[in-house]
């Protein structure tokens, strides 16, 4: 049974979720089922993480043809690039079921489906399969926002759905184009990554296909200026959905770029890397500045998350191993910190029935444990050394400086920008005089503490002893950079070279 572990991780939640949605199940039962399934997935995930040795390419491979005539196959596998994303998608979910215990059954059912679909998207090694999971993972989000969201949920849900599906349909066109290109090259349709990465694409069509992919991922990440769906969606969505969107789904966008765009479109990628990097940096600053002035707790965190995604995405476009590793690492680091932040926010919202920052105050004295947890997550998200956030951010900045000094310097401003809005938020919510809305605020219960504590510990551990994680992802990152090498050489002769030259003369 455990020999096709990935399928199990994908379809156990999906089937269970569909069952919960279709059959008459009580909410308690639904929650119990969801918790059980997610815990199982965690166990499988840990098994994969421990038995994974990053030396070779894909591991835990499953492959069986789906549609021969088009060469579409059910092809799963994990490698260093997908491993940590997979972990993020696998490990964090039980928290939701433990923290939010009184939701409708649809809430839990959709959560299960979205988890399964996201794991599928991460493991898929066939583009069409990937696309299927990619689309499927949006639907539960659509329903969750629409059913359980805030007052303006309709607008938000329409916007996110049409925005993202529009992007992914363009990607579909690009995917089919790739299959066709393979058909032209070899007389054989195929959508398998290993087959497609061998293609040498050129010409405007290839560039357009590249754009198609990039748009889809840029919307999902989101990269500036495709982020405009994000604030509404994050703000209106129920906590769990915001958690899913920010902690994992956005990362899958980043993952998609690394996994599919870089190997297939290496030339186009190298050519436009600078522009993309700029959009990453600009997005980081833009959203960081916008975050400062938000009145709504959740909206501010939404912008902050978008800001971090900008810097994370930047890591891909720098095309050197430090930045890439930084990104892959930051994917998990940010998933944990942001995840915890949004979940805590959900708890705070439940307790105080408000999200307006000015209604808060003095939570630190009312709920010290909550405050400490939030503080740790916050420090991780502003990249304080000793927390997981620092490693990735530093590596990305380091790589960015090698790639292009100006970009690097701009990227480093995240150190300041992030801390500005975060501290101000922390001041207004947790410090100062207690407000009347928070007068009866009570601290985390034992279960809540025990639920969140592991992640908090993980944040610290990943900051102090990251090497085990890095060892898993380094080989893959090295391989990819090596594959990019000659293209990078072309790009470097353009921009990123001042430093090295200075180093020589």
């Amino acid at each position: 049974m455990l020999d096709n572990l990935l399928s199990l991780m994908i379809f156990l939640p999906i089937v269970l979720g569909a069952g919960i949605l279709l059959l008459p199940v009580g909410r308690e039962a639904a929650r119990a089922l969801g918790l059980a399934a997610s815990v199982l997935v965690v166990l499988f995930g840990l098994k994969i993480f421990l038995t994974f040795n990053g030396s070779s390419g894909l591991e835990f491979v499953e492959r069986s043809p789906l549609i021969e005539s088009l060469g579409i196959s059910y092809h799963l596998g994990v490698d260093g690039i997908s491993l940590l994303v997979l972990m993020a998608a696998a490990l964090l979910f039980p928290m939701v079921y433990l923290l939010f215990r009184t939701r409708e059954k649809g809430y839990y059912g959709n959560l299960l489906i979205v988890q399964g679909a996201m794991i599928g998207a991460v493991c898929a090694a066939d583009l069409v399969l990937f696309y299927m999971f990619w689309e499927v993972m949006l639907l539960p989000v659509f329903f969750m926002i629409g059913l359980y969201g805030g007052p303006n949920r309709l607008k938000a849900t329409v916007k996110i759905t049409i925005y993202t599906i529009a992007g992914s349909l363009l990607m579909l066109a690009a995917i089919i184009y790739l299959g066709m290109a393979h058909h032209q090259a070899t007389g054989q349709w195929s959508f398998a990554m290993d087959a497609l990465s061998g293609l040498s694409l050129a010409g405007p069509a290839a560039t357009l296909a590249f754009v198609g992919f990039m748009v889809a991922f840029a919307i999902k990440i989101p990269l500036f200026p495709f982020h405009t769906w994000l604030p509404d969606a994050y703000t209106e969505a129920p906590t769990a959905t915001t958690f899913v969107l920010s902690a994992i789904m956005a990362k899958i966008g980043v993952y998609g770029v690394i996994r599919f765009v870089v190997p297939v479109f290496d030339e186009s990628f190298a050519r436009y890397a600078l522009i993309l990097a700029c959009s990453g940096v600009v997005g980081m600053m833009y959203c960081g500045i916008a975050a400062l002035v938000q009145k709504d707790f959740k909206r501010m965190l939404a912008f902050s998350s978008a800001s971090h995604m900008g810097i994370i995405a930047l890591g891909i476009f720098c095309m050197n191993v430090q930045a890439l590793t930084g990104t892959l690492y930051q994917i998990v680091a940010h998933a944990t910190s942001t995840g915890v932040i949004f979940l805590l926010l959900g708890l705070i919202e439940e307790r105080s029935a408000t999200r307006t920052i000015d209604d808060f105050g003095g939570l630190a004295s009312r709920a010290p444990i909550l405050a400490v947890f939030f503080a740790v997550a916050m420090l991780a998200s502003v990249g304080l050394p000793g927390t997981s956030g620092f490693i990735g951010e530093f590596l990305i900045i380091l790589g960015a400086i090698k790639f292009n000094a100006v970009i690097g310097i701009l990227a480093a401003t995240t150190l300041v920008i992030g801390v500005c809005y975060m501290l101000w938020l922390f001041q207004r919510v947790f410090f100062e005089k207690p407000a009347e809305k928070t007068a009866t605020f009570h601290d985390l219960t034992a279960i809540e503490v025990l639920t969140i504590l592991p992640v908090i510990v993980l944040i610290i551990v990943m900051g102090i002893y990251p090497q085990p994680f890095l060892d898993k992802i380094n080989p893959a990152a090295d391989r990819q950079i090596a594959a990019l090498a000659q293209v990078v050489a072309v790009a470097d002769s353009g921009d990123g070279a001042e430093l090295n030259n200075q180093g020589k003369n």
Binding site: P225, V293, Q294, I401, L415, L423, D443, P466, L499
Partner: protein
């Protein structure tokens, strides 16, 4: 040539463990205070004291080695390694770090003890000690780190603790704002630090990113890149050590409890910048330009701090500005490549400034948290120990021979003069005079003359042993620390300089006897002048003066804070508002909305065309048909 010493790892680890334990104890019991202060105090003080003992042990271990090979290091584990970059969580004990280590742990332990008295009865007693331990641990990582990146861990850690401790009384908005200010300004500095490190890495870091390897490869660094790196690192230093233009956070940082001000914002953390520059002496020695920038910014800061210090009324603010000013001295020292002098001043300054702050704390406690010097007066009979110890501290600060401050400061000024930086020397002497002036203004106003507020005076009482004891120890330090580096002219051997030599790249300026005399004479003269003016003005118990003109201007710190607010903070907020109100909806999201709107409108148009008259539909068909046939005949041309 370098040995291994695993005990190094424990020096920072002990306080950190203490912090963790205290923090958990506090969190576990914060609802009802089940644990007595004694236990907290005990747990809180074990860590620092043990680290101190370990430090002493390390010192002797190091001394046993021959002078040139005094390097003990300990690689705990590989922190992270990506591509060319390999960072190990390693600690390095060399003369420089051990010197820092000794006084940091010593002063730190003393202040822990002092805090037992000062914080007695505080609702969050445990939290305070947890923070204090955390700070000490981070500071020790900063000092012991064997490379820039490990140093950066401590660097940011102490920044965090400073934030936490400044906003310790978080109910009061002002404190929190001060904390934010400190953290953010420090972050601006760290921005420079990180960039500096990155550039340095891409320059010469590939072969190893710890001090020893960097020192070995320093000569490979391209000049332009070298300057960039040095200046960027110095940006970090200005942030942490409150130099122009980033000094603004330090005076506000006095919002924290007084022991914090003594430990973090006087003795240890704020000197980290100096330590860092000294650490990178091998770089700064290469590019004089960078050194000069450092020196001039330092001396200017010294001047500015002194000016501000002369017109403050809050006892802690005065000391804060004197700290800024003294830090300026240190940078002037390291800037003119007199690294040992700078570090020596750090060393002595730690004693007398910590002493002064703790004294001030004891005064404040005695007066039930009054800090305005114009409410005090004639306290020397009421608080004798505090008075005498603070007097020693003041003399040291003012640079009165043979107190410690005199030697260290004189060393710096002498190096400046000998190095040919006459301007720096002149300003330095001037500042020395001003220092003497404001220090004794403080002493005279607070302790001499008649009490200005009678009933405050009556309730005043000397602090408990646990607080006065550290004062005495520090006073001894402030008194004799100077003799550790007695220059030849007084028949000394400059032990400290020689001790530090292996880890610093400096050339000792060989000025003539005359220069040396001139230097000493200058500073002594300045001291005398300054103190005499202060005596004439305040010894007789003057009343609070009304500041006008320049004094008012200086009292308001040249309105620098207001300036920053209008030039930086408000515009930043404004941009944020603009993004939120205008750019987001109309520029970035505009196209999307426009497209949606267009789509709907087009839909309406088609509703109109769908008239419902069958005849019209027939006409559509015919029109379509004829258009198509027209195109057809065109394309097929028959």
């Amino acid at each position: 040539m370098e040995g291994n010493l695993s005990s190094l790892g424990f020096i920072p680890l002990l306080p950190l463990a203490g912090a963790l334990v205290l923090g958990l104890m506090h969190l576990a019991t914060c609802r009802g205070r089940l644990i007595s202060e004694r236990i907290y105090a005990l747990v809180g003080c074990i860590g620092p004291i043990l680290s101190f003992l370990l430090a002493v042990n390390v010192f002797f271990a190091l001394q046993a080695l021959p002078a040139q090979s005094r390097f003990l290091s300990h690689q705990a584990f590989t922190w992270f390694s990506v591509g060319e970059l390999t960072i190990s969580m390693g600690f390095l004990a060399d003369p420089l770090s051990v010197l820092m280590l000794l006084f940091v742990t010593l002063v730190g332990s003393l202040i822990h003890v002092y805090s037992i008295g000062y914080m007695a009865g505080d609702p969050a007693f445990g939290k305070f000690f947890s923070y204090l331990n955390l700070f000490l641990g981070s500071m020790l990582i900063l000092v012991l780190g064997d490379g820039p990146l490990v140093m950066f861990v401590g660097w940011e850690g102490v920044g965090l603790c400073s934030y936490l401790l400044i906003s310790y009384y978080s109910e009061d908005r002002g404190n929190v704002v001060a904390g934010n200010k400190a953290f953010i300004v420090n972050r601006i500095g760290d921005f420079g630090f990180v960039l500096g490190m990155s550039f340095l890495f891409w320059g010469i870091g590939a072969e190893g990113f710890d001090y020893l390897s960097l020192k070995a490869n320093a000569h490979l660094l391209a000049p332009t890149l070298g300057i960039t790196v040095c200046l960027l690192l110095f940006v970090g230093a200005t942030g942490k050590s409150a130099q122009i233009p980033l000094y603004v956070w330090l005076p506000d940082a006095m919002a924290g409890p007084t022991p914090v001000s003594a430990l973090i914002h006087a003795a240890t953390m704020v000197t980290a910048g100096v330590y860092m520059v000294a650490r990178f002496s091998f770089l700064y020695a290469q590019v004089e330009v960078a050194g000069l920038v450092v020196a001039w910014i330092g001396i200017m800061t010294a001047l500015l701090g002194a000016i501000f210090g002369m017109f403050q009324n809050d006892i802690k603010k005065i000391l804060a500005y004197s700290t800024v000013s003294q830090l300026g001295y240190m940078f002037a020292g390291v800037g003119v490549a007199a690294y040992s002098a700078g570090i020596f001043h750090v060393f002595t300054h730690a004693f007398f400034k910590a002493l002064l702050f703790l004294g001030a704390g004891s005064v404040i406690l005695a007066l039930h948290h009054r800090q305005d010097i114009w409410q005090m007066g004639g306290l020397k009979n009421k608080l004798p120990i505090t008075y005498w110890t603070m007097l020693i501290g003041a003399l040291a600060l003012a640079g009165c021979p043979p107190f410690s401050g005199f030697f260290s400061k004189d060393e710096i000024l002498y190096s400046a003069l000998a190095g040919g930086h006459t301007g720096i020397w002149a300003i330095g002497v001037l500042v020395a005079g001003m220092t003497a002036y404001y220090t004794f203004r403080l002493i005279f106003v607070v302790f001499h003359g008649q009490p200005r507020d009678r009933e405050v005076y009556d309730h005043a009482h000397e602090s408990p042993k646990v607080m006065t004891l550290p004062l005495i120890v520090l006073a001894v330090g402030a008194l004799f620390a100077g003799f550790l580096n007695l220059p030849a002219i007084f028949g000394g051997h400059q032990q400290v300089s020689h001790w530090l030599a292996p880890s610093l790249t400096e050339v000792h300026p060989h000025g003539s006897m005359a220069t040396e005399v001139l230097a000493i004479g200058g500073s002594v003269l300045a001291f005398v002048v300054g103190i005499s003016i202060a005596y004439r003005r305040f010894a007789g118990g003057a009343e609070q003066p009304v500041f006008t003109g320049f004094r008012k201007f200086a009292y308001h710190k040249f309105y620098v804070d207001e300036l920053y607010d209008t030039v930086l903070v408000r515009p930043y907020r404004f941009v944020g508002q603009a993004v939120q109100r205008v750019i987001e909806p109309y520029v970035t999201d505009g196209p999307v909305r426009a497209a949606a709107w267009l789509y709907r409108m087009a839909g309406l148009a088609f509703k109109v065309i769908q008239v419902g008259y069958v005849r019209v539909y027939a006409i559509y068909m015919v029109i379509g048909l004829s258009v198509m046939s027209l195109v057809l005949s065109q394309s097929l041309n028959f």
